[in-house]
């Protein structure tokens, strides 16, 4: 299936993962002209329970729109880290919110405390999802930070632009810190290389 | 979260005197006894969803929500055993028990 890249953003109900999925898909699809398909889990589980958004990005037309073998998994709570890890390709990347995920299923996991960063640095837990997106983009280059910013700003409520910009910066920063510590191979991103200097 | 915290505190204050007392008088005949007794509040953590209802409406501010959004017993000694926390918990995750003497030390 060639240039197909599968991402899953998972966590619990209130963490804004569906919105994150849409933003990611828009960044890739609208701002970078890729083919994208974004899906999500519905159902009573979505009622305060688990929440999951999937994004498939490809250079060709996407037939099957759901993710089956993940290239990238974001897990924002322990349960989703546990359950969806099995869908990850061996060479896939797992990123967890270490605020809630205390046991990672692999040592290769990238651990960043998105929620804690959001709470401490911005006083608003609800932007943890945006921080996470910036981190994912930085780590895997699946979309450029520029596209991501454009997509974020187009979707978030008026008046929160600054907050979200800061969130993007924080996410990118946290990811860069990781990349400095660890070898890039350990993160297995397939995304294209972007000339990317937006958030130093 | 912040918003919730605020609401809760306000609620607890205004609720304090009136609501709880009325409720006790009406619903618990054992009121006078209860005040002499000591009570213990238990949470089924597995079932609790952290909604904050138990603590918000505790007439004696016995309960409070912690940083992680979980209910905690902040002032155990003030509990009057009215069981409003228990009755209002949507998830059957609170249990108010009368303390037995031995248990008092353990608590």
């Amino acid at each position: 299936m060639g240039k197909r890249y599968e991402i899953c953003l998972s966590g619990s109900g209130g963490q804004g993962l569906i919105l994150a999925g849409i933003i990611l898909a828009e960044a890739a699809g609208v701002y970078e002209g890729k083919h994208v398909a974004q899906t999500q889990s519905y159902g009573p589980e979505a009622r305060g329970g688990a929440s999951k958004a999937e994004v498939v990005i490809s250079d060709e037309e996407i037939d099957y729109p759901m993710a089956t073998r993940l290239d990238l998994l974001l897990a924002m709570n322990q349960k989703s880290s546990d359950s969806f890890y099995f869908d990850l390709k061996p060479e896939g990347t797992l990123v967890v919110d270490s605020t809630f995920v205390t046991q990672t299923p692999t040592t290769k996991a990238v651990c960043i405390p998105f929620t804690e960063i959001a709470r401490k640095e911005l006083g608003r837990e609800m932007v943890a999802n945006i921080i996470a997106l910036a981190a994912l983009a930085t780590l895997t280059k699946v979309v450029s930070l520029k596209s991501l910013e454009a997509a974020v700003l187009a979707r978030v409520p008026k008046g929160t632009e600054e907050l979200n910009r800061k969130a993007l910066q924080l996410g990118s920063k946290a990811a860069k810190a990781i990349l400095k510590e660890r070898k890039p191979e350990s993160i297995k991103g397939h995304g294209p290389d972007h000339e990317d200097t937006a958030y130093e | 979260m912040t918003a919730k915290g605020q609401t809760k505190t306000k609620q607890a204050k205004t609720a304090k005197g009136k609501v709880a007392k009325k409720a006790e008088v009406k619903d618990k005949q054992a009121k006078t006894k209860a005040q002499k007794k000591r009570f213990e509040v238990d949470f089924y953590r597995d079932w609790c969803k952290g909604c904050g209802i138990c603590s918000a409406f505790c007439p004696e501010e016995v309960l409070a929500m912690n940083e992680k959004g979980e209910p905690e017993i902040s002032k155990p000694e003030r509990c009057i055993g009215c069981a409003w926390c228990e009755i209002r918990c949507p998830d059957f995750a609170v249990r108010v028990k009368e303390k037995k003497e031995e248990e008092v030390c353990e608590a």
């Binding site: - | 918003a3 919730k4 909604c51 209002r88 918990c89 949507p90 609170v94």
Partner: protein
């Protein structure tokens, strides 16, 4: 002091996973508790209770309790319950419905069950919204509020469920809130005891779909709202219209006597048997 939760657990299903599906803070769990307390006080046998519901968040309620439970199609709970009751009048049939379930798609069955005075207890969990499907306005969403299908505010007038029940013929009508959880179990108990069609409207909150959209805050804030806007019906008599403007009454609103269907049908049977040629 009664160990309420222990008591509740006695009636929950052991083979069903908990916590239940509802959002953190959803009032449905409080209603469930009140219902169980009322049942326990009446000392009904579990085998004798049939709990029937429609579709909606509220409709998920019966699955958690260890009775004969029946989760029907959307809006039709009362019709199924009617069949159960007529086929086995000795069963205690309790029907749980959402506001949409009971008064939107199921509105007709509601007024007809009331008219027939079928011996059922109908508990309507009124959260002023279609919770399960994502916050569309219901026939009880107040004028002027927002909903996912009323982005410019709702222009429809809300039903008064209790009045509708009375006009249609219900013999017992009570209204409570989840905030007033102890009054609630008493009202439900009264409805259980009542012979004929008894209705308890429970004012509750759906902070997820309704509160959030209307800046009414979380579950705690909405329960506070209930506290502040509910007036005991006994007290309301002494209050001016002005004082009652944005309030609603709670308590027993109507309690009267009318012949009930199952008993009347016994008379039909007697009559019918006379016509059999011997």
């Amino acid at each position: 002091m009664a160990e309420i939760t222990k008591l509740v657990h006695k009636y929950l299903r052991h083979d069903k996973k908990f916590p239940h599906v509802w959002c953190p803070g959803c009032g449905n769990g409080i209603v469930l508790g009140a219902m169980i307390r009322a049942i326990d006080r009446r000392a009904y046998r579990k085998d004798d209770i049939v709990m029937v519901s429609g579709i909606g968040c509220s409709g998920r309620l019966p699955v958690y309790v260890d009775f004969n439970t029946l989760h029907t199609t959307h809006g039709r709970a009362l019709t199924f319950a009617t069949g159960v009751k007529l086929a086995k009048p000795e069963l205690k049939v309790i029907v749980v419905m959402g506001d949409g379930d009971a008064t939107a798609i199921g509105g007709n069955h509601f007024i007809h069950a009331a008219r027939r005075n079928i011996n059922l207890t109908a508990i309507i969990i009124n959260n002023n919204i279609y919770g399960m499907t994502g916050g569309q306005y219901s026939p009880t969403t107040p004028y002027g509020m927002k909903a996912s299908t009323a982005p410019y505010r709702n222009i429809e007038h809300a039903f008064n469920i209790a009045e509708l029940a009375v006009t249609a013929g219900a013999v017992f009508v009570g209204r409570g809130t989840v905030y007033h959880a102890r009054l609630l179990d008493k009202l439900i108990e009264k409805a259980f005891v009542k012979r004929g069609f008894g209705v308890v409207e429970v004012i509750t909150h759906c902070h997820t779909q309704y509160g959030r959209r209307n800046n009414m805050g979380d579950a705690v804030a909405m329960m506070k709202w209930q506290k502040e806007h509910a007036v005991r019906v006994e007290k309301s008599a002494d209050m001016s219209e002005e004082e009652l403007r944005d309030k609603f009454t709670i308590g027993v609103l109507v309690d009267r006597e009318l012949p009930i269907y199952t008993e009347q049908y016994e008379l039909v049977r007697k009559q019918a048997k006379k016509t059999i040629p011997s």
